[in-house]
């Protein structure tokens, strides 16, 4: 929509600059967060950016058909790894999400995101239907989403599960679904959420977070024990930190360092809180705008892709970036309950970053072979 009619080449170059800017902002922000907590995450993140960058370039250069062929192998490998995580995974913060491979810690659920996008895209490429899809004809994609989602939610990792489901639904909708089926899908979700709530698929701490989000005052004060309840501290602290940024922010490295003790995920899930305090409303607006433009560009790539597979991969990757961004920032500013999910590009994390960069590589791959109209 934006820059309509401009040259594809120009738009791709602008997008490339956008991603590079995001990477730089991310590294600077991570360095400042490290400054507050005396940690050294940003060095490792530079390495991950380099590895991910190389992989992105390779991805962009390869024939997209290779990824169509690799779709199922990647997906099945990720499922196997997810099962392995449940059996021999490393537990961090009461959640079993990581696998130790050659002394490196990896999160297989990140690979699942790629696998899911590729497999769904391949499915819609293969089923060349003239009509729009109905729920009956969609049982295969739904199954493809449900299997890894169930494996991830029992880790438990609600954030990644939600991201997967949202990405899957976005792709299905983009592929074209009958209105009646969309309504049916909404109804199914309307039933599924209370069901998950009742059957403890959603864990008590997750329920607490939702309750806290709906009613922030409820958990602030324990009358009986005359003390503050810890549950509320993390989102509240994040909110204070964000608010403290005001219009222009405190400047790099000038955030309140000591708050880190009550904001433990400053390099990962709450990375935006540190960013918002330093850069203020202007910086936050810029960041959201940057994400928005890149996602819009990705959607444009999907629209102009030369085939269905490419189009769906492009929309899948865009959706992945967008939904993770929305959930992460929404959680930090209190419009969503707290779920553990990373902010693409910004959060520290090797596997997540590489996945995102490979996705960006795919986007560029497709963008470079767009259908000229």
């Amino acid at each position: 929509m934006l820059l309509k009619g401009t040259d594809y080449r120009l738009r791709n170059i602008l997008a490339l600059f956008g991603f590079i800017m995001l990477a730089l902002v991310s590294l600077i922000n991570l360095r400042n967060a490290d400054l507050y907590s005396a940690k050294q995450f940003h060095y490792a993140q530079i390495v991950w950016y380099l590895i991910g960058g190389v992989m992105a370039v390779l991805t962009a250069k390869l024939d997209i058909a290779i990824f169509e062929r690799l779709a199922w192998p990647i997906y099945i490998l990720s499922i196997v790894l997810l099962v392995a995580v449940l059996l021999v995974g490393v537990e961090v913060n009461n959640s079993q999400r990581w696998l130790m491979v050659f002394g490196l810690r990896g999160q297989p659920s990140e690979l699942t995101k790629l696998g899911l996008i590729l497999v769904l895209a391949r499915f819609f490429q293969r089923s060349q239907q003239a009509e729009r899809y109905t729920l009956r004809t969609l049982w295969q994609p739904v199954l493809v989403i449900v299997v890894p989602a169930s494996l991830i939610i029992i880790q438990p990792d609600l954030g990644t599960t939600l991201a997967l489901v949202f990405v899957g639904i976005s792709m299905i909708l983009f592929a074209g679904v009958k209105m009646r089926s969309i309504l049916a899908l909404v109804a199914i979700i309307g039933v599924a959420i209370p069901f998950a709530w009742q059957t403890d698929l959603i864990l008590p701490y997750q329920k607490d977070r939702v309750a806290l989000w709906l009613n922030p005052d409820q958990f602030k004060w324990d009358e009986n024990r005359k003390q503050r309840i810890d549950k509320s501290m993390q989102p509240e602290q994040a909110l204070w930190a964000v608010g403290a940024g005001r219009l222009t922010g405190k400047g790099g490295g000038q955030g309140s360092k000591s708050r880190l003790r009550s904001l433990p995920e400053m390099q990962t899930d709450f990375v935006v809180a540190a960013y918002a305090e330093e850069r203020g409303f202007i910086g936050c607006f810029g960041l959201i705008a940057l994400f928005y433009l890149l996602v819009a560009w990705g959607a444009g790539v999907a629209r102009d892709a030369r085939d269905r597979f490419s189009a769906l991969v492009a929309i899948g990757v865009s959706a992945l970036i967008f939904w993770q961004m929305f959930m992460n920032v929404g959680m930090a500013v209190g419009v969503l309950p707290v779920v553990g999910i990373t902010l693409p590009f910004m959060s520290y994390g090797g596997t997540a970053l590489i996945t995102t960069l490979v996705g960006v590589g795919l986007l560029f791959n497709i963008a470079l072979h767009m259908q000229r109209r």
Partner: protein, 747 residues
Amino acid sequence: MEEPIPSQSGTSGLVEYQTHYLWAVIIATLLSLLLVVRFFEIQIIKGRDHEQRARIDHITRERIMPRRGRLLDREGRPLAYNISEHNLAVIPHFLDRYPETLPRLRQLLGLTDIEYGRIAQRVQRAMTPNRRHHRLTILRDLVSNRCPHDNTALETGQDPAPLLWCSACGGRFEERPERAQRCKYDGRPLELSREGRVARCPLCETTYVATPVCPEDGAPLDIRPTTLTCPRCKRSFEDQVAIVKSHLHELPGLSVVTSIKRNYPEGFRMSHLLGYLNQVNPRDLERFPNRYRHDDLIGRAGLERALEGDPTHPFEPNLRGIPGEDVFFRDERGMRQRIAEHARVAANLRSTPAVQGDDVWLTIDLGVQRIVEQAMRRHPNPSGAAVVVDVHTGRILASYSRPEFDPNVWSGRLTREAKEEYDNNPYSPMMNKALSAFPPGSVWKVVTALAALNEGLVDHETTIDCPGHYDFAGRRFRCHDRSGHGEIAMVEAIKHSCDVYFYHLGEMLGMDILERYSSEVFGLGKPTGIEVGERTGQVPSKDWHRSRSGGWQPGIVLSTAVGQGGVLATPLQIARLFAALANGGRVLKTRLVLQTTDQQGKVRRRFMPEVERLIGLPAEKLDLVHQGLVATVEDDDGSGRLARLPHVRIAGKTGTAEAPRVLQGVSEELARWLLRDHAWFAAYAPAEQPQIAVVVFLEHGGWGGRNAAPIAGRIIDEFFRQGYGQLPTPEAPAPSASPDEDLDGIH
């Protein structure tokens, strides 16, 4: 891949992506706008609040300890109050890094090897990951401005004796004054050793040396000049707080912590009544959840324990008070910020002030207490008690028990050795004998007499022949006068304390009636209403005897009639009984607490006298017993004649209770003591217009008439001589021991 990517066939499908693309962009736009709006709200609209709140790094809650209330006597003289105490605390972790600290401390304070070893051991034990960063008290009550022995304010000495300290073995010595044979401080003869070079006091364990050379290892002793002397005990001290504080730079990890300590200026005199304080133990924490924390002090005995206070009973005396809480913020630089300045962002957080403990005024008069204590101390018997009660109000004017303990020691630095010494003392120094039950012996006869009179079994003329013994149920019960008292009537029988007369009364009354009178009419065997924990004594019944190993035998009623058998009563119960006889038949609740006042001296609650029950016996019957009691003291052949005073007429009753005990493995002297009788004397005075009831009890003190009566006489003598009571003017009408007309009998 089998088939090539269909590039042309898909084109028709791709057309619809234009709409889907629009939908996607619309959704992304709306949701991104939502985030931007939210950022605007948080950062621009509420930005100031959030910024202010973000400055608060953490919220700290500190407990505000209330001041523990004082205990005062009826005139407001302090009996227990708070003083500051300097303790030496250490963070063990630092000692790991600076191992020189403790040896330096040893040198600075001149610690003995035992003290040093104990400190090192405590520190070593605290070197666990959990405890090594927590403050640990290693030395309590450093000397600074008051004597650690008697809490007297120290003076800057004129010529204080230096302390001699051996840096090698840690021994502490003092220079022996020229050929001194007695201890400088307590006058005990010194024990000499090593050809007279070393002299040691067996009591205070001060070791004197003639020359400044260590007797243990021959090393020259350090001469440590002292600056302070105690005006009372004459000992010299170094100002330990000053020494430590001026060397803190050499002692990393150490700090001087000031805390509160309880002081009992009357020390021994009031020990049992007042009790003492010490640290809560895990059992207390369990028993009173959320009320105490580790290292809190809790009242342990006597009034300190009974009036400790319960926040759920706001009208009862509360010595401890209720702790408050100070809530404040610290910003990221650790600076303290008042909550009020952040009221908008912290509406739920509020500081609560502490409720200070009540000052409790006791009914005890320190002057009377001193009289009682001095009178008791004149008698060599090591164990006993004495009580003085106001007969009209039931207020306890003095209550003394011996041997005493030192509440200052028990509230402070009680060493294991001192504790063992108390535990092994055969005379039970920790037991308040005024509130402990003993066989009362003949003082109990007033109960039997009144029961028999009221039942109409005898009157003032009824005589009984006493041949010196009484044969009953195949057993011969002897009178204490083996030759017998002959034909004897009530007044004479009380006066001589004739056992045979009362055996007869007991047989006539029977166990059930005797029991009913004792417990229901006189309230014996029941609590007296005193605020502190007491024994209730015992009024035996047939059933009680049946449940015992010996079983019920008819002869027991005879023993019961003369206060033996299974009868047990506390000196306070006997005092209450005699107060009731003196005031015309009102059995009062005995009281220790007069009133409570708050910090400003405003009375919070005043405790009025309470009548628990009325004896309800006709006046002439009480009067007859009264005549007997007066004759006991005032007649030349009365059993209590040794209590007689020239200026005060006394009505009293002696008691000599058999209570032999046999303990294995005790010294011969102690074994003999345990076989002796308990000596009792209960009295009220002046006989015409009674004001006080006095009970003197000597555990295994022998004859009541010979041992206890003179003590009671002395107490009454001093009481009136020092002006605590009003002696009746000669023309004043005689006995006030007449019951009120409107009192109904309890029959």
